[in-house]
Symmetry: C2
Subunit: 320 residues, 2 copies
Amino acid sequence: MRAIVINQEASMPEHVDKKMPELQEGQVMLNIRASSMNHRDVWITKGLYPGIVSGATMGSDGCGTWQGEDYVINPGLDWGLNQNFQDSRFRVLGVPDDGTFADYIAIDKKYLYLKPSHLTVTQAAALPLAGVTAYRALFSRAGLRQGEKVLVTGIGGGVALMAFQFALALGCTVVVTSGDAAKITKAMKMGAVGGYDYKDTNWTKDLVTDFGGVDVVIDGACGPGFSGLIRVCQPGGRIAFYGATAGQIGSVNPQQVFWKQLSILGSTMGSESDFGQMIDFVSKHHIVPVIDCVLPLDNYRDGFSRMAEGKQFGKIVFSH
Amino acid sequence: MRAIVINQEASMPEHVDKKMPELQEGQVMLNIRASSMNHRDVWITKGLYPGIVSGATMGSDGCGTWQGEDYVINPGLDWGLNQNFQDSRFRVLGVPDDGTFADYIAIDKKYLYLKPSHLTVTQAAALPLAGVTAYRALFSRAGLRQGEKVLVTGIGGGVALMAFQFALALGCTVVVTSGDAAKITKAMKMGAVGGYDYKDTNWTKDLVTDFGGVDVVIDGACGPGFSGLIRVCQPGGRIAFYGATAGQIGSVNPQQVFWKQLSILGSTMGSESDFGQMIDFVSKHHIVPVIDCVLPLDNYRDGFSRMAEGKQFGKIVFSH
């Protein structure tokens, strides 16, 4: 079968002909019909992940067919039973476990969820990792409530867009940031009420002037701009972050945090419960993931290049 | 009546003869029999608080008598109904509102709580502000559960000691830090299972080696050492801080925070609900606040000097 595998000595993964996986107890053989990329895939090719094994199939997100039904895969393996944090055995599907950029995957049946009926296979393949990460950050961690004001930073990324769509679906007022005016324009068309260029030194003041601040921030950047997120929070605000593309959190003013009773919440991936709730939420609200482009799996190199450049708005999907 | 009032042109408050307060609607006249100091009182004398009015009576904590019954005062005025954060009208009793360092106070009856019967008037006067601040940080914010491991930093301060006693009473394993070996020794005698000098560069490693880390941290310092608090947290850990005696939070590693699913929680004072629950908890567990010394109110200068030096272990109480 086809498989796109990591080669630690090359800057791009390799297309190989791999033998079919063998089924272990509890596993089923899913015929993968679409998969999608995450930043994680690019980081793995750069060697920026622990536990990389050359020859392992890449890809965390996938949607496929088993016994005539279409399923999406929960890529969070062995989270464990504690909702508050993942077990030490926890890992994300796709390196070192063989992932979704292949024709078939042998996967434990408990990680399969029926594809929401309003989504195509291609759309559903865009959902898993970004969806569960956004869901946990927004609901399980930040406890978003209907009608609250939400800031989603770095709009255009998979998790950011999913958080944005979830918050809109709940009936929240959502503002966004980006370094790219075109991405802000797109978000405004989708329902954002405000958009700010985070490179503009006045953006936090402008947001407070325009909307009086926000109740919840969903961030994947951290970095020196983190103190601005604290400034735009209203009392009782929650900042949940799931990544740190801009690096270390710079100096933080603790008085602002305790006087406003803020909560700063680290969040990554999600539990099986988070995943199931996310699928239900997407089904209930007929949410369709934003897709940047659909490429044939054989053209995976174009997908890796596009994501590495950061030009995408939404998910990069491979059709198999 | 006697009153100790702020004089913005002097480094010490003044002892004055003040006319009796006039009762407003809903207020009762409490004969204050004991009061206690907080860091806030020292900061006010240094001009480090907004809204300071020369001539206002100082003091946030007090226990007194009205119609033959002894009451402690909830010093958190006009918190409002939202449990998540205080109303914009919120303020702490004692400058600009006339406080407890006086023979009498006119106070809204809703801020009076019957003195827990296991406490003397002197002990009860040590309870309010430190007690409610510790209770909110530990329970309402960090959600401490029985059997968890807790780190309380800067043991010796009023809030730190109260948090320490509350966590012990709940059946938690508690470790402490201090820059003063004598304070650590005292805490160990009270039930701490470990004590670390935060000036020792290896203290976080030692704590992890000794106890495997902690579930909850209660901190009042922040400052450059904050990253050490993140290091000692186990997955799912919560750091609640109520002060920042060491200044700005330095650079923070976001990967540690999101990978461990940590929560960093600002907390200040507490709601009326927090205060009522704190009084009930203290009564149920027969907690007796740690008192550093009891001074006659007329010797208030000694109290202010002692607190400014930071030598105290427990609360500095004035008997009236």
